[in-house]
């Protein structure tokens, strides 16, 4: 049994928790972070091993020890999902991520009102629970800027203070200054994608990524080895929390990290105030506690929701901080559609270079195109990358079904991959999904994890008219790009049978008032002012863009509010 006292306790030190740890420790708070996995270092990632990291998911939660279950609707029984694409160690998902670093569009923060303004109220599906975010792009912009310079994001501006710049993303929201580093090295994937997109009138560009195109802050530039998405970076050129915020937190002398510590309860007193957390230690001991003035819950969305549900009290019988009844609701994910292109007349060599979303068009994302008469709202990021967002042969074969007419095994299959593995590329439509109240996370009544805690259970099915129409529209557009490349074979992947895709979001959504949301724009609980929940669980809508940079910007916003306002007068940062 261990009991410690501190100013701030942070559950999960990934994209959000790492920033809060560093910023609050710099401001003089004593901070203890808890992480259920280990803390790894750059030297641990020397083995460039596709089986270990991609196929066996060494940096993700073990599905047998830490199951997350899914069912398409409340009538069916949930079963554990086969793979879990989030972190399981200090640094969280930023250790294995592809480092794609987007700022959301201005209208991503106000999907409801923007849609009503342009298309009328009826354009929003009746059963969608989408609300505007309680903050605007302009309010978050300084924090986007800060994190881009903290990480060293490589890219080219497409909208500098309102001035559109060819070669960058001309659809991006206005930025105050250029990216800290120039775009990453162009490769054959980018060459082919750009040429085809330009032919079709789109505006392709090199995807902004938190991977160093030049040496930055004492770290080396990317070597283009290709072991990127799914892997830890063996030279520290990918800007994971392990090589950015955590060393900053260490340097303050005010930060301590407890690893292999599984938090199972946020403790509260009779007044309803959070007093700290209880956790299982590495030896399985149960009665370990950290007492703190401020409790920050920052794991991935499953564990954020589960922890609050497990921490229910007499005052909060439906889960801690859940007087609104919105805890665990409005789950969203990115539904992906892939189209493959294989060439007889050229090599692509897909295994080279950073693998995630190498080049992108934003023309068909958000509300960047007219949706009148299309039967759906919102759009999709369309990017070029390997089939599995990781370019090795195992990933390719697992993620890319052969084209029609080629068998899945035997001589024909062998010959297809022998010829085309180095001559193919994929394009991914990463589509925005609207939130729906019936898409939820709760506690699985049947399945338990290695600590005997109920598994988080998702109830979810993306196959709704608005989402299906969008996916079909986007798939057709990507297929046109494949044909415009002059590929010999162009074929689609097909859609998932209702299961959630990647980048799960929602469950602890923020809002302008305590009736429609669990937390305010700072991630502060409306019910318990010294409890913060920060991460993609807060998102009100999903955008078609990867969530990490926005998670990080929100973490800076919260850290600033805690340091500048909450410390002076601990209490609600937003009046209900």
């Amino acid at each position: 049994m261990a009991t410690e006292k501190t100013d701030v306790v942070i559950v999960g030190v990934g994209a959000a928790g790492g920033i809060l740890a560093a910023e609050l420790a710099k401001a003089g708070f004593k901070v203890i972070g808890l992480e259920r996995g280990p803390r790894l270092a750059t030297k641990d990632f020397a083995p460039q091993d596709e089986l270990r990291y991609f196929q066996r998911q060494d940096l993700r939660p073990d599905v047998r020890r830490q199951p997350v279950t899914w069912r398409p609707n409340t009538k069916s029984r949930a079963t554990p999902i086969a793979s879990q694409s989030y972190g399981n160690q200090a640094g969280g998902g930023t250790v294995h991520y592809g480092a794609v670093s987007w700022r959301f569009h201005e209208d991503d923060f106000r999907v409801r009102s923007h849609t009503i303004e342009r298309y009328g109220r009826t354009a929003i599906p009746e059963d969608s629970s989408v609300i505007d975010w309680p903050l605007s792009y302009t309010e978050l912009e300084p924090y986007y800027d800060r994190i881009e310079y903290e990480l060293g994001v490589s890219g080219k501006a497409g909208n500098l203070r309102g001035q559109k710049i060819a070669g960058g993303n001309v659809f991006e929201a206005p930025r105050q200054r250029e990216f800290p580093l120039p775009p990453l090295q162009l490769d054959q994937v980018g060459v082919n994608f750009d040429a085809a997109c330009k032919k079709l009138g789109y505006h392709p560009f090199s995807t902004p990524r938190a991977i160093l195109s030049q040496p930055y802050k004492g770290r080396p530039a990317c070597a283009y080895c290709g072991y990127c998405q799914g892997f830890g970076c063996h030279i520290g050129a990918k800007s994971s929390t392990l090589v950015t915020n955590l060393p900053d937190a260490d340097a303050t002398g005010n930060f301590k990290l407890l690893t292999n510590a599984m938090v199972y309860r946020v403790n509260t007193d009779n007044s309803g105030r959070a007093t700290g957390v209880s956790y299982y230690g590495p030896d399985g001991s149960r009665d370990n506690t950290v007492e703190a003035e401020i409790v920050i819950v920052a794991p991935f969305i499953y564990d954020a929701v589960r922890l609050l549900l497990l921490s229910k009290t007499e005052k909060f019988p439906d889960g801690l901080a859940n007087s609104s009844g919105h805890l665990g609701k409005h789950l969203m994910s990115h539904i992906q559609t892939r189209v493959f292109a294989a060439f007889d007349d050229r090599h692509i060599n897909i295994y080279m270079g950073p693998s995630a979303q190498k080049h992108t068009i934003d023309d068909l994302n958000a509300d960047n195109f007219d949706h009148s008469g299309l039967g759906f709202i919102r759009g999709s990021q369309i990017s070029a990358n390997p089939a599995a967002i990781e370019g090795g042969p195992i990933g390719t074969m697992m993620a890319m079904p052969p084209p029609p007419g080629v068998p899945r095994w035997g001589e024909g299959y062998r010959d297809f991959f022998a010829k085309y593995y180095t001559r193919y590329m994929a394009m991914t439509g990463q589509t925005e999904e609207l939130p729906y109240p019936g898409q939820t996370i709760d506690l699985d009544p049947d399945v338990r994890d290695a600590w005997n805690l109920p598994a988080p259970r998702m109830t979810y099915d993306w196959r709704r008219p608005n989402e299906t129409k969008r996916l079909e529209f986007i798939t057709a557009k990507i297929t046109e790009i494949g044909r415009a490349m002059g590929a010999t074979h162009v074929w689609p992947s097909g859609f998932s049978p209702g299961a959630p895709g990647s980048h799960h979001q929602g469950g602890v959504r923020m809002g302008a008032n305590p009736k429609e949301s669990v937390v305010n724009k700072y991630g502060q609980s409306w019910d318990i002012p010294n409890l913060f929940v920060i991460g993609s669980a807060n998102f009100c809508s999903s955008s078609g863009f990867n969530p990490t940079l926005t998670i990080q910007a929100l973490a800076y916003l919260s850290a600033d509010a805690i340091v500048k306002s909450y410390r002076k007068s601990p209490g609600p940062l937003v009046r209900a």
Partner: protein, 227 residues
């Protein structure tokens, strides 16, 4: 590469013929013959363990199961001159080692799946999977793939097929330290150079096959051999 391949195939074929003569069975696939040869050698010389080249097993699977897995995976990824297959890459060895280690939780999945496969073949063809010709073996595999094979409880036939397919891909294309991808056979098949530490601007922009001269694994390196 071609020459080496042919020499190896000739050796494997000779080994198969010896085993066939010894066992007095009809024409059987190479993998079965090899496994039988191994079996016979073990029986004749109980003090000496001789593992045949590249179809080695011994960490988990028994000889009969090993022969079935070898034959099944070779049909999924068949070898031919200049085109290494599951047998050449040592997929059986990969699966055998994985079942004794990282995939120990799949031991009964394999045991039961192989028992069901054998029962289905006995019921349908009155003989075992390994004794069937290639075309018949493919017929059986398609019956699993489409869920039409009878005699399966748990695992379901599609699940068993999908797992063997996945493990064949892993054994072909994972680093050789895991026991498959022998002499980078899988990587050579598809033109993957392995863990190259740096790709240059020229490499990245090239429309040709990668020009590097070496395949690099976690422990081994080997020259790229171009046919």
């Amino acid at each position: 590469m071609l020459e080496l391949d042919e020499a190896r195939r000739a050796f494997l074929l000779r080994a198969a013929m010896t085993a066939v003569a010894g066992a007095g069975v009809g024409a059987v696939p190479t993998s079965l013959a090899q496994a039988q040869q191994h079996h016979q050698q073990s029986a004749a010389q109980p003090a000496v363990h001789q593992h045949p080249p590249s179809t080695g097993h011994g960490a988990f699977l028994n000889a009969d199961d090993a022969a079935t897995v070898a034959a099944f995976t070779e049909r999924l990824m068949p070898g031919a001159p200049g085109k290494p297959g599951a047998l050449d890459a040592g997929v059986l060895n990969y699966i055998d080692l994985a079942l004794a280690g990282a995939y120990a939780h799949l031991q009964d999945f394999y045991r039961r799946g192989l028992t069901s496969l054998e029962a289905y073949c006995q019921k349908t063809y009155k003989t075992s999977f390994v004794a069937l010709g290639a075309a018949r073996q493919d017929e059986v595999i398609r019956a699993l793939e489409t869920g039409k094979a009878t005699e399966f409880g748990w695992p379901r036939p599609q699940a068993f097929f999908n797992t063997l397919r996945t493990h064949t891909i892993e054994g072909m294309f994972s680093d050789p330290i895991y026991g498959g991808n022998k002499d980078f056979a899988g990587w050579r098949l598809v033109g993957f150079p392995g863990a190259i530490p740096v790709f240059t601007t020229e490499d990245m922009l090239s429309k040709e096959a990668y020009a590097g001269k070496e395949i690099i694994g976690l422990q081994a390196r080997a020259p790229v051999r171009r046919a």
